[in-house]
Structure formats: structure tokens, C-alpha cells
């Protein structure tokens, strides 16, 4: 099987800071990869290099067989991206914004309308479709961000903290949506919530200080916890792998 997303020895240096130090990822169709790590570990930077927002200092990123640095335009048509914080233009109405995205994605006329309607339906934005972005709650902003990312039905979805700021009901809905979408595409989502890994991800990658310290299924991650730990086993493993204050952890 060919990977829909692949990074080869990806590095990023910001001045003297070596933020990402050789990340290798492969995400196949049907996989939902949970990208975990402490704040500042390099999750967002890695995702930004995959989407082409940042240029890698070394290494390369491939989306659906397209090298992001060499053919950015084609790579961008193959993926949907929810940037950190789900940014959006404050004065635009939801449907206006999605219409703009649809035009940018090359749709016109009836097809454009159908795409916008489908995106609005997919994340339940009907109630707020006429509202401007600045009047939306955090949950609706995030959902608008998700709607624009999946509007063109891309084979690859990159989502930076898609459930951040959502209430439990919204989290449940978005996770169900991600599970559904993940069946026939490759999804990378970053999160701080380890419960999310169990709920939606088929694989987890933990990154710490720019290095991948774990890559495996949620079950394999769970198995790393000592038998004595009964509750919050993934939390335990996460701390073990990303700090040095847990017995058996590494710096």
C-alpha cells in the first residue's frame, strides 16, 4: 500500500532552535493518526511543513505521492487543513466563507452550492450559516474550520487540535465525524486529549522535543504501562515517554 502522507527525515530549525529533528511518518488510507506530544514538542511545526505553510529545513513531505515543496499547488489540492485555533475572517458569514473556500478550490455554479451545503450539513452549521465568524462560539468556529477542510473531499486531512474548545457533546459529534471520514482517507490530528486517541485514532505517534518517541497502535501504547497502573494508563505512558519524572521515563 502506498502512503497518502509521508515525511522523510523532516527537520525544522528556527534560528538556533532545532524544533523538529528528523521526523519520519507514514499514514496510509484508512488510518487516523493521533499526533501527541507536550506543548512545544513540534506537532504544529511538523503539520505546517506537511501542509506547505512552513518550509522544511531538511527532509521532505509527500501528500498523495506529491512532494509538497516541489509541487505545492498540486499537493494543496489533495489535502484539507484545519490550522491551529481554526482561524477565519471575522467579518465573513459562515456560508460566505465556505463559498470563498469552494471558489478557491475551483468549484463554480451548482457544484459550488452543493459543496457548501454538504459541508454545512456535515458539521451541523445550519443554525449559524448567516452569522459572521466573530459572533460564533468557539465550538462553531472549530466546526466551520473543519467544514472548510473537508469541503473538497480530500484524500488527506490534517487537523491541528480539532476538538479543542468543544463541549462534550460537540466532541462526541466531531469524533464520530472523524471516524467516519477516516475510513477511506488518511487523517492526521494533533491532540492533548489521550481519551481522543482511544476514541478515534487507529495509530498514535508521540513526539517529544522534535523526536518521535512512540509510533504504534493505541493498544500497543496501553501495553507499555506497567500492570499495576489501573486508571489513565495512556496518561502514564505519555508522561513516561515525554518527561523524566516518571520511573522508567527518559529525558
Amino acid at each position: 500500500m502506498t502512503a497518502l502522507v509521508e515525511t522523510r527525515d523532516l527537520h525544522k530549525r528556527f534560528g538556533g532552535i532545532h524544533a523538529v529533528r528528523g521526523v519520519n511518518l507514514r499514514v496510509e488510507r484508512g488510518e487516523v493518526l493521533g499526533f501527541l506530544g507536550p506543548n512545544g514538542a513540534g506537532k504544529t511545526t511538523t503539520m505546517r511543513m506537511i501542509t506547505g505553510f512552513l518550509e522544511a529545513s531538511e527532509g521532505s513531505a509527500w501528500v498523495d505521492g506529491v512532494n509538497v515543496a516541489l509541487d505545492p499547488l498540486r499537493a494543496k489540492t489533495r489535502m484539507g487543513y484545519l490550522p491551529e485555533g481554526a482561524p477565519c475572517y471575522p467579518d465573513m458569514r459562515v456560508e460566505e466563507f465556505l463559498g470563498f473556500i469552494a471558489r478557491a478550490r475551483g468549484y463554480r455554479g451548482a457544484e459550488l452550492k452543493a459543496r457548501v451545503e454538504r459541508a454545512i450539513d456535515a458539521v451541523n452549521l445550519t443554525l449559524v450559516r448567516k452569522q459572521t465568524f466573530e459572533t460564533l462560539s468557539k465550538g462553531y468556529r472549530r466546526r466551520t474550520g473543519i467544514a472548510q477542510a473537508l469541503l473538497h473531499d480530500p484524500p488527506v486531512l490534517i487537523m491541528d487540535e480539532p476538538t479543542d474548545g468543544l463541549d462534550p457533546n460537540q466532541k462526541f459529534e466531531v469524533r464520530a465525524l472523524i471516524r467516519r471520514l477516516g475510513k477511506d482517507r488518511a487523517i492526521i490530528l494533533s491532540t492533548h486529549l489521550l481519551e481522543e486517541v482511544e476514541a478515534v485514532c487507529t495509530r498514535a505517534v508521540i513526539i517529544n522535543r522534535g523526536l518521535v518517541v512512540f509510533d504504534g497502535t493505541p493498544a500497543a501504547m496501553d501495553a507499555l504501562a506497567p500492570a499495576g497502573v489501573k486508571a489513565n494508563r495512556l496518561d502514564h505512558v505519555f508522561r513516561q515517554l515525554t518527561t523524566s519524572d516518571v520511573p522508567g521515563g527518559k529525558a
Partner: protein, 245 residues
């Protein structure tokens, strides 16, 4: 390519009218333009049917108003994070840069078009040379375009609109100033004639004044076109360079 540029231009143009910026800008522009033309420029007292007092103050009016239009172009995208959204959509960098510029230029052209009553006034009062006035409008539009290109390029550097505004005012002032008598005199005292003329030929003020007098010279048009193209090109370079930081 053009279609995709217009998608950006359309969104940006609408964004001006989505905030009070458009109304505030238009009101202030029209108020100041009227004040300079009638009260300070004394359009009625001159007893001549032309728009000299009107165009004469445009460089100074634009110096402070045009940077207010261009300052948000990239700085706001950076502040709100939408730059990440727009640069990961399948647009070419050139489409983004030109689209944004066209929107800002279109907006200032709306402001200029709203000064038409002044033109109608002199037509009603006398028999002005409409060719000269038209040439003046072309000059104003081109000068606004040049200032906007400078401003867009500067806006790409920073996420602060205030910094973008102030830096743009200074940059546009310098662009005008190279032709200012004080600067010209300073050079003409000792510098070779060729240097003095080279500096004078880079001045937006001198090219603008030729057009506002009704002298349509291809060199003046080319001057403004090259300033616009050069700064838009630099604008694209800045955006691309920031990606690698």
C-alpha cells in the same frame, strides 16, 4: 489565473466594506479633499475652471490615507492566523499578492470616483479642459497604486498594522521627497547633474505633477507601473521568505 486572482480580490474588496474602515476612510478622504480644494486651495477664488487645487494636495492626502488602506492587507492575516489558511489553499503566491493589491486599489478608486462632484462643479461653473482633469485623475490613481504596492509589501513584514502604517507613511514620504525642492537643492549644490536628475526622476511627486498638469508622458506612466510591479514582486518575496523562517 486571472479568475483565481479575482477570487482573492473580491474577498478582500468585500472585507473593506465589512468593517467601519470603508465608511471612515471614505468620509475622511472626501472631507479632507474638499477642505484642501475649496478652503485651502481656494478653488472658487482663483476664477479658473480647473482642478489644480484639487490635485495639488493629493500626494499629501494619500501619504496618510493610502497606508491606512494597505496596512491590513497582510498584517491582519498574520495576526488572526488566516495567513495559514490562505497560503495552504491552492493559490499561487502571485495570485494572492496581485489579488490583494487589486482589491485595495479598487477601494481607493471608489474613493477617487466619489470626488466626481468636484469635477461637475467646475464643469457647471465654467469650461474646464476635461482632458487635463482626466489626466489628473489618472495620475492620482497611479500614485495611489504605487503607495498601495509599497504599503502591501511593508504589511507583509509584520503582524502589527500600526508598524505597517507608520513604516509605509515614511516609505511613501521618501518616494515623494526625492523630488522635493529642499532635497533637490541639497544635491544640485555639489552632485553631478546626472545624479540630480536621476534622483528627480525617481520622485513620485514630479511624475504626478506632470500628469496633473495634463502632460501625459509615457515615462510617467511607466514610472508608476514599475514602482507597482517592483513592490508587488518584493511583496511576494517577503511572503515566500517568511515561509522558510
Amino acid at each position: 489565473m486571472i479568475h483565481r486572482t479575482l477570487i482573492i480580490a473580491r474577498r478582500e474588496f468585500a472585507a473593506y466594506f465589512g468593517t467601519p474602515l470603508a465608511a471612515v476612510f471614505l468620509v475622511i478622504f472626501l472631507f479632507l479633499s474638499g477642505l484642501f480644494t475649496f478652503n485651502i486651495g481656494g478653488l472658487y477664488d482663483r476664477g479658473q475652471a480647473d482642478l489644480r487645487p484639487f490635485f495639488q494636495y493629493h500626494p499629501w492626502l494619500f501619504l496618510f490615507l493610502v497606508p491606512a488602506v494597505s496596512m491590513r492587507l497582510w498584517a491582519e492575516e498574520r495576526r488572526t492566523g488566516t495567513i495559514e489558511l490562505i497560503t495552504t489553499l491552492p493559490f499561487r503566491l502571485g495570485e494572492l499578492v496581485v489579488g490583494k493589491f487589486l482589491a485595495a486599489w479598487g477601494f481607493t478608486l471608489v474613493a477617487l470616483a466619489l470626488t466626481a462632484p468636484t469635477w461637475l462643479t467646475v464643469i457647471w461653473l465654467g469650461e474646464p479642459d476635461n482632458g487635463v482633469i482626466l489626466s489628473g485623475y489618472v495620475g492620482s490613481a497611479l500614485m495611489a497604486g504605487a503607495f498601495l504596492a509599497v504599503g502591501a509589501c511593508i504589511s507583509a513584514f509584520s503582524k502589527s498594522q500600526v508598524i505597517a502604517f507608520v513604516s509605509c507613511v515614511v516609505a511613501c514620504f521618501l518616494l515623494l521627497l526625492t523630488g522635493f525642492p529642499a532635497v533637490q537643492d541639497f544635491f544640485s549644490g555639489w552632485a553631478p547633474r546626472a545624479v540630480v536628475e536621476a534622483f528627480a526622476s525617481m520622485s513620485a511627486l514630479i511624475h504626478f505633477e506632470a500628469l496633473s498638469r495634463g502632460v501625459v508622458d509615457l515615462r510617467d506612466l511607466l514610472y508608476f507601473a514599475s514602482v507597482i510591479v517592483a513592490f508587488l514582486f518584493m511583496n511576494a518575496l517577503v511572503i515566500d521568505w517568511k515561509k522558510a523562517l
